[in-house]
Point group: none
Chain length 235, copies 2
DNA sequence: GAATATTTATGAAATCTTTATGACCCGAGG
DNA sequence: CCTCGGGTCATAAAGATTTCATAAATATTC
């Protein structure tokens, strides 16, 4: 699927760099590493990686600052590695321009899935028609309608806008602020309750089991994400 | 096949404009060209093309922005020409309201097929008889008359124009703005009440049960659309 | 002056916003 | 280890607002 995509790993701990390098090379990625933000910026300019993985904790220039600096010069997908529990930092990272994050400790499968998702970020469209399809769900942008197994689903304007926006950035974590700003406007950036209500309505209409959503996932403390590939749940 | 359908080609490179013009005219289309988004918008308002072909890369206003602007005022099918590999842009274009895209480099056959497909989706008055038929309804565009089960229905000029327009783009949601602009003109784009009155009159004349319309459906908060596939009615 | 178009008025329907409630998670303090 | 309290989240439902359908009055056109 992604033979030889270039990945840059930025971490100050040599052990972690090594470990990631070995594991990712096993998955056929071309890996380069950097031990600091400065190195990373230079490496990005020279090597043009397809994905950058950044540890949140770095000496001198932390992950958030680095993310910001990268974003000033490149739209390359950035995945942040964050310590468990630091929701605030996650949000900060996402709003500085990171595309996704993985919470430590994480499995290689998890990281790998996020890398794939970042590489594939383009929404899959069927043929040339403006229709989005995934699992049982299809959304026709021309007709402004959504179907679940061929069955038409009635969506209000706001519900449709929200769904469309989430599909557009599917796979990516979208913070409350980002969603609220996009759909309702800057002034509503703090009305997280709106979001809960409308996410709830969308789930009620789209999800088989609203308690275990397939499409619209919650990232507690951060926001929501439209899942790209329906995963089987472990539980 | 499509005698004299009007096509607008929007591209800033004179060579490509020329090439497309010549090739499409050979296929019996009436071709007009525009070198910029601004020109294109004006040409659409004045010439009412049946299909618009837009290069994604344009100076000042790019293809996506142009697509969005066209969509604000017209449901005309838009085919986007995109450079190879720019998946993200394609998605963006389709979500902005484009109907189809063709990746450069492309053959004339390919483009031609897409044009035909786009024309087919709008109800063209091609074929031997300019008559639209669906379920019990038939509209003769040459004689400007509509019949319900062979019985002639009296339509005022505005009612007829509105019906014809909706049939032409049947299946698509037509926003209030688009309908008002098309039938009454730019200046009336906010008079949604006109629409309600005339839609109501059309329904009274066409629909068996105005409370459960078969043909003219309401998309609350968005607009109206002419239903393509007749639904079985229950009860 | 007859047909048509525009405007006004009103109740109904759909949607959006707000409030209320309980579940759940997690850390602090007993 | 347990319980408490604060926070986020999901959901239902009440209230407010907007949009819609319809009838009818008025204006315009030919």
């Amino acid at each position: 699927m992604s033979p030889g995509a270039r990945i840059l790993v930025v971490d100050d701990e040599p052990q972690i760099r090594r470990s990631l390098q070995v594991n990712l090379e096993n998955k056929d990625y071309a890996v380069v590493t950097a031990a600091s933000g400065e190195e990373a910026l230079e490496s990005i300019a020279r090597r043009k990686p397809d994905v950058v993985i950044v540890d949140l904790v770095l000496p001198s220039m932390d992950g958030i600052e680095l993310t910001r600096r990268i974003r000033d010069q490149s739209p390359v997908p950035i995945i942040v590695l964050s310590a468990n529990g630091d929701e605030l930092k996650k949000v900060e990272a996402l709003e500085s321009g990171a595309d996704d994050y993985v919470t430590k400790p994480f499995s290689m499968e998890e990281l790998s899935a996020r890398i794939k998702s970042a590489l594939r970020r383009t929404v899959m469209l069927s043929g040339s028609e403006p229709i989005f399809r995934r699992a049982g769900l299809s959304v026709n942008f021309e007709r402004r309608e959504a179907r679940l197994q061929e069955e038409l689903i009635k969506l209000t304007p706001t519900e449709y806008d929200l769904l469309k926006y989430m599909i557009q950035y599917s796979g990516k974590v979208l913070t409350h602020r980002i969603l609220l700003t996009a759909i309702w406007g800057e002034a509503y950036a703090n009305q997280a309750q709106y979001l809960r209500v409308f996410i709830g309505q969308l789930r009620k209409k789209l999800e088989r089991n609203t308690a275990r959503p397939q499409y619209i996932l919650t990232d507690p403390g951060v926001g929501y994400r439209f899942e790209t590939s329906p995963q089987e749940e472990n539980s």
